[in-house]
Symmetry: C2
Subunit: 939 residues, 2 copies
């Protein structure tokens, strides 16, 4: 005979029928209440009606399974026995709360009813038990009000209508000549109960049910009903919570913190959720209900005071704190009530925390042997590391500034950290102001490669246009600069050197005025705010702090070591300069994944040669200009090779459209014309002729080297000469030469042939052999789909996912600002594909490219050097796809290291789950297993 299905789970006393890992069936609240009972904590007895009842209810036209009624009555009996009170008993009534409890927290989305079981008869029992008529009638009044609203539907019809119950209360206070609810007497409250009931009958046509059992079923139905209310539906949609999960219903004995001075209530965290320190952290109030603490009418006391006020109680609570941490192995958020001296636990769940705290707690717990290093790593979102790395505002000072109206606009949080300085509206101004010792915020409509030096001189960069991967954002992150990008409210007027702000007529900023930007939040704040580098930076980069003196650094360092011991993916950095490279190594980079040779072209002593090269009319002229650049490029590479000490260095040959290097002002054009000995007009015409309609899809990448092989020749020579020179100093060197924007294997062949020929020449000249690789970026869809052909020649691939995203989507990141934010906001796209890799589309091409590439060259080295290389979800994708490394800006290296470790751990989990599923495919639980798998995929 089939066993009757269990729909109701009792908890209370020393034993619960459920436990913590039954969240899917009991909801988070119910599972944790059961768990607390099981570990011996004092929990008011109750029972949980499972989520399966909710599913049944919606599948069967709002009917319950026939077994439910008996199971509820049975559980209620147990509760009565445990609590020593009887539901509906005139003398000793049991009161209960009825609350929803879904698998995932949906705060405030569904309904709750307290004090259920009261009626004109049982209220007398309550008076007798408490000897407190006002408390009893206040409880009764609150119950009727909640029940009338939630179960019987007496509520305002729209936003403009007042709550009908509050209207009655207001009238009552008015007629009694009092101002506060608390001034109403027991009799007043008794009158209110009757008036509420009358209003309910009049306005809804329903009688208020006096029968507690009727009350109970009404409340249960209302809670299940609230699963489908509009708020809940919207919330689920926003948070990807599937409808079929359903909610559980928790029916629990009431305990009261407002039964006098020996009663009270509180909330607490088992550790400090802001700093992560291992101290008991929370607040409490005597003679109060939970909502009093929340409402802020009375100021609660810090939990530390309880140690003095009631040492026994504090000791009991602190003991519970320890039990909970030991049991849950995490920082918990708890709610408790003291009823007439007895402590009851009402709720416990994993506590929310700042990134800083998350890291500290995770690392501390490993050291306390509460959790493993793997668990620690899985608990920290990689981006939370930013909170350890970036310069920071003093939080108090910032709060004051915001409160005084100095927060004038918000942009994209493009480069985390805090920066404060004088506004400079051009790169040149920024450099000059910095030379004078000023801290500078460079504010531009948008930035271009010409602004690099100014960006480097500035503390932070603020732009009015451009997204998360705009030039400003990319370069800022690579430089480790604070950046707020795409702050559209700023109206930057270069002509009169000022900024105004849309919607803020009171604000007018002149160049040289102070401004502060928070690149972690995108906030732009008027005036100056102090900042300081983080301790980790002080240890690793400025080297102004001894690691021994910094617990924060030690925390960071432990975590990173654990991550390194777990991850498979290598982490490289995108760096063009020795100092960037050296920072990246300090952050744990294991090579350079992208060294852009063109960033070196903007140096003072170079740009003229570069321009000469571009406007050259003949091969000879171009070669002459290139020969001026050769020694400079060689020096650049020598510097980088020295710093990288044998780590691989991937150097990309010239990539950007040539017009990016050309002068645009009349003055500069004149200078160049003079240097070249040609007329202004001739040069201007030449510059104009280089104009392109779609430079992104134009004459760039390897197309430059195909048309002008002498450029590739010069760069190959500079790289190989530098490599041999540095090798001769006794330093190991591993150059990897990377050809950009290859679409057809023939382009690669032509460029590779040049590189190999020049390398042979140089090695012969220098009498020394070196190992080097020649590979390519895969940044065009065509390269991805013909990767098998390309890999017949290329020794490595590096996915340039910035450009691959642009071409795969047909989306220019410079122009997408008009519609992309709306696309993300309206969830047309799940996320900004320039921020996290689009796994369904772009990712499919990455997978295809990797697979095809390795089909013709099994040992093909594959990496990624787009900005996605430092974004945790993308790093995880790269791990799953079998890439060898990711490369990202120096300050993202620790994030990538952590993300790579998490990828390994998440993969293990998935595999375990999968193997479990695979192990019992035909077991009775097949249905449930399916449901689990579905849950996974929906997450």
């Amino acid at each position: 005979m089939a066993k009757t299905q269990k729909y109701v789970y009792f908890f209370g006393g020393k034993k619960a029928e459920g436990k913590a890992d039954m969240k899917a069936l009991l909801g988070g609240k119910g599972a944790n209440l059961a768990e607390m009972v099981n570990i011996g904590l004092p929990v008011p007895a109750g029972f949980t009606i499972t989520t399966e009842v909710c599913t049944y209810y919606y599948k069967n036209n709002h009917k319950y399974p026939k077994e439910l009624k008996a199971q509820v009555l049975n559980a209620l009996k147990k509760v009565e026995k445990e609590m020593g009170a009887v539901f509906g008993d005139p003398k000793n009534p049991l009161l209960v709360s009825v609350r929803s409890g879904a698998r995932a927290s949906m705060p405030g989305m569904m309904d709750t009813i307290l004090n259920l079981g009261l009626n004109d008869v049982t209220v007398q029992g309550l008076i007798e038990k408490t000897n407190n008529p006002r408390f009893a009638y206040d409880s009764y009044r609150r119950f009727v009000q909640m029940y009338g609203d939630v179960v019987l539907g007496l509520k305002p019809k729209d936003k403009h209508e007042h709550d009908p119950f509050e209207v009655i209360i207001e009238n009552k206070k008015h007629s009694k000549g009092v101002k506060l609810d608390t001034e109403l007497t027991a009799d007043d409250l008794k009158e209110l109960v009757q008036e509420f009931k009358t209003a309910i009958k009049e306005k809804t046509g329903h009688d208020f049910p006096d029968d507690p059992m009727e009350q109970l079923w009404g409340a249960i139905g209302a809670v299940f009903g609230s699963w489908m209310n509009e708020r809940a539906i919207v919330y689920r949609k926003l948070n990807n919570i599937p409808e079929w999960w359903g909610t559980a219903v928790n029916v629990q004995s009431m305990v009261f913190g407002n039964m006098g001075e020996d009663s009270g209530t509180g909330v607490a965290f088992t550790r400090d959720p802001a700093t992560g320190e291992n101290v008991f952290y929370g607040e409490y109030l005597f003679n109060a209900q939970g909502e009093d603490v929340v409402a802020g009418i009375r100021t609660p006391h810090p939990i530390s005071e309880l140690a003095k006020e009631n040492p026994a109680l504090y000791k009991q609570l602190d003991n519970i704190r320890k039990i909970l941490e030991k049991h849950y192995k995490d920082m918990m958020d708890i709610e408790f009530t003291i009823q007439q001296g007895k402590l009851w636990m009402l709720q416990c769940r994993v506590g929310k925390r700042t990134g800083f705290a998350a890291i500290k707690m995770a690392v501390d717990m490993v050291k306390e042997r509460l959790i493993s290093k793997e668990e620690a790593i899985l608990r920290i979102e990689p981006n939370q590391l930013n909170q350890l790395l970036r310069p920071i505002f003093d939080s108090e000072e910032k709060k004051k500034a915001v409160e005084s109206g100095r927060l004038i606009a918000k942009g994209l949080n493009a480069g985390p950290g805090a920066a404060s300085g004088k506004v400079a509206l051009s790169a040149q101004d920024a450099e000059e102001m910095a030379k004078n010792g000023d801290k500078v915020i460079l504010v531009r409509i948008e930035t271009s490669p010409e602004d690099i030096k100014g960006m480097n001189a500035a503390e932070g960069i603020l732009t009015a246009r451009g997204g998360m991967t705009s030039h400003a954002a990319l370069v800022a992150r690579q430089m480790g600069k604070v950046c707020v990008a795409g702050c559209g409210a700023l109206k930057i007027n270069y002509a009169d050197r000022s900024i105004s702000v849309e919607g803020r007529d009171d604000v007018y900023i002149k160049e040289g005025d102070y401004i502060s930007i928070d690149g972690s939040t995108g906030e732009v704040i008027l005036g100056k705010l102090e900042t300081k580098p983080s301790e980790v930076i002080q240890v690793l980069i400025t080297k102004t702090l001894d690691p021994k003196d910094s617990p924060t650094f030690q925390t960071y360092n432990s975590l990173m070591n654990w991550a390194d011991s777990i991850r498979r993916l290598k982490v490289r950095t995108n760096a063009d300069q020795p100092d960037q490279a050296s920072n990246a190594i300090a952050f744990g980079a294991e090579g350079i994944g992208l060294c852009r040779t063109e960033h070196m072209f903007f140096g003072e002593n170079r740009i003229m040669s570069v321009r000469k090269m571009i406007v050259a009319d003949t091969v000879e002229e171009r070669k002459a200009a290139l020969s001026e650049l050769l020694p400079l490029q060689r020096e650049d590479f020598e510097g980088i090779f020295r710093v990288m000490k044998g780590y691989p260095v991937t150097i990309r040959t010239l990539d950007p459209p040539l017009h990016e290097f050309l002068p645009h002002t009349e003055k500069e054009i004149n200078e160049l014309a003079q240097a070249l000995g040609i007329s202004y007009q001739t040069l201007k015409a030449k510059i104009d002729s280089l104009h392109e309609f779609n430079p992104m899809l134009g004459f760039r990448g390897c197309r430059l080297g195909v048309l002008y092989p002498e450029i590739t020749e010069m760069q190959a020579r500079a790289i190989i000469e530098a490599a041999i020179n540095v090798m001769n100093e006794g330093v190991k060197v591993k150059p990897e030469i990377m050809i950009p924007l290859v679409g057809h294997v023939n382009e690669f062949k032509l460029q590779e042939d040049i590189v190999r020929r020049v390398a042979d020449e140089v090695m012969k000249e220098k009498g020394k052999k070196i190992d080097y690789l020649v590979g390519t970026m895969i940044e065009l869809p065509r390269a991805a789909v013909t990767a098998d052909e390309i890999a017949t020649r290329a020794e490595f691939f590096s996915f340039g996912t910035n450009d691959l995203t642009q071409t795969t989507f047909g989306l220019s990141r410079d122009d997408a600002g008009k519609f992309l934010p709306l696309y993300v906001q309206q969830e047309i796209l799940p996320a900004d594909p320039f921020e996290t890799i689009d796994q369904q589309g772009v990712g499919k091409l990455v997978e295809m490219g990797t697979k095809l590439g390795r089909s013709s060259r099994p040992n093909l080295k594959v990496g990624i050097c787009g900005e996605h290389g430092g974004e945790p979800a993308s790093v995880e994708f790269c791990h799953r796809t079998g890439l060898d490394y990711v490369s990202c800006s120096p300050f993202r290296v620790p994030i990538a290291r952590l993300a790579a470790a998490r990828a390994v751990l998440n993969e293990r989990t998935t595999k375990t789950t999968k193997s479990k599923v695979a192990a019992k495919p035909k077991a009775k639980s097949a249905g449930k297993t399916k449901a689990k798998a579905k849950k996974k995929s929906t997450k």
Copy 2:
């Protein structure tokens, strides 16, 4: 015991050992010589040494197979017997020619030796046989000269050196005081022979071999050697002829057309290769050698004269002509020699022909029951149809113009046909000049949508910039206009309304001057040339010619009917206007595959409303502007639906970047500002704000409709209202609404929802239901790789391969002019991917998109509407990929119909070949089969 391998194939008399289908083994020449023998034609006896010997020769260090010598001697014996002469005999010497003969024709690439077998002894025999010492010594002299050059290597060391033999001849003429070779006497020639031999010995160290057998082997070695000469290698590379094919060597008895007035020589085609007419076409000369006809020293006579001069011979030849056509079932190109009254056939091969002739001959031969209609279709390159469709220059007049230096430049042959008219340098000028009754050629640096009306008014369009799919080229082909694009030599000066031409200082063209362009060749010719529409156009479009009166039209029509009976692919057209649509139907279109709604936006009474819509600040303003456009768009669609009479019409919602519609001149901006009641500055700022860095990847396609749903609403309403209105007139209507530039299924969903909602509204308002489809363009790589998701909603796909090519390659067609021509020229890319679809890259995405799309919607209708839809190789690709239809500009419809039929036939051939290969995988011929397959793939 293994049979000895056969390396030598005899031909002559009534029987040859080879035949026509042995080209791979015997080369084209050898196979056809054998075939002619077999069908009873008089061929001088000889033998062919197979290509396998060539392969052996190169594999075995320039050695021959050991069996070869005996087989050659044996064959030579048969030749001697057949010709009644003996090789090396002093009295009756057999002379032979030794010629190469590869599988594919490689004209002039390899070496030939004539008159072999002569020496001081045999020359006497020749004198006796012919009684003509001068002839004998001239033959001897020629032989020594050729042999010295080809076999013994006495030739000029470089281009600057004179031919050493010619120097000796010049000296001889000088010393004899004569000017022409023909003035040299037998004795002079005899002296020359000795002087040649002395020179050979002195300069090469080799004795000239007197032994005919030594001569023969030397010549055979030289011919095999010439397979690897530099010219031949380059030629093979250019023509994709694999090296391993090798060449055969033909050794054939000499016959002489210069043995007196009863001898002669000639070349002929079995039909007119220019017009295709079924007449004998060729030239002959009596008492002459082949080279005399070619050299042009004497003027040959048309073959028709032979009928009078020597009716018997003519009859014999004409009979051979008939035998050949009946046997080969094709027009043949023949060479013949008459030696002392006897006719000998020296060569026959399939003759080259013009497109016009190819079509006429193929159709005629079907009617003559020589070939099947399938064979006819396979014989015509679809693009050859252009020669039946386009207006044409009188060829004589054009030739004269070119000869007089009026050909001033060449651009891309972007829109076939011929046009002549006055130069207009702006669209407005073009319109005005056309209104005054002038024929106009619109000459622009490049064109934009604003120029549409001017382009329509012009006879032809000539641009200095832009490729085969530039705006000018696309629109021209759609309009059926002649177009030469990307003619970089033109320097167009809008300021002083003139054109100069690079490298032609003598040319200066003012606006209003006459110019002529040939869009089939890209030629630009100064001054006026007369043109006329083709007969097919006169029948189908201008309707000025009765089909009965045009044999050319009937030819066209037969061919098209046959193609239609074979093809599976439907052919639609890209058309925005009723007249275009109606032309397309005349050309056989079966629907519209792409109706661009934005082309309608440039009409005089519309552009202002469009501009109002674009610069609108509020939804209300935008809706007001759109409501002005609604009735106009509805009328457009009504016009098209009426013409299309129930054929499906795919209408694309608004696609281009909005700034394309905005005014750019101060005057226009002022006008619009006044109309809108805003200031010039405000409007200018608005226009500037719409500027994009990469408009191709910017705010366009469905992104417009997502941000401004009211645009899609208006267009959907216009389409459905028009459809119902036309249906109410009793005309069938099949609208297919197409959403452009979809990258994510969510974009499609949003747009589809709007279309369906509006359609429901309109149908309710009108009280009538209509069937319509909603589908999408697949023109982004992301759409192709996520086509399974998109097809859950989209009812049809249309591959927009223009944009798909741009994004897959990361290549802007507007900017690629700088490097793409070089890429094609240097064979980095096999072809311009905008001209013919890149099957390896873009094609892979098309295949993937089709497969994925049909995986979620098996009955998904799939088409292509890029310009590739009318390009034969791309059409064939579409057929193989399983598309339902191609869509192309009206004038390409016949080409696409023919290409679609050829695709079916080629597929049959491939399948037959494959099944044959599959049938005997383990047979002895496996090696050969492989070779065959390889040959296929190399072609």
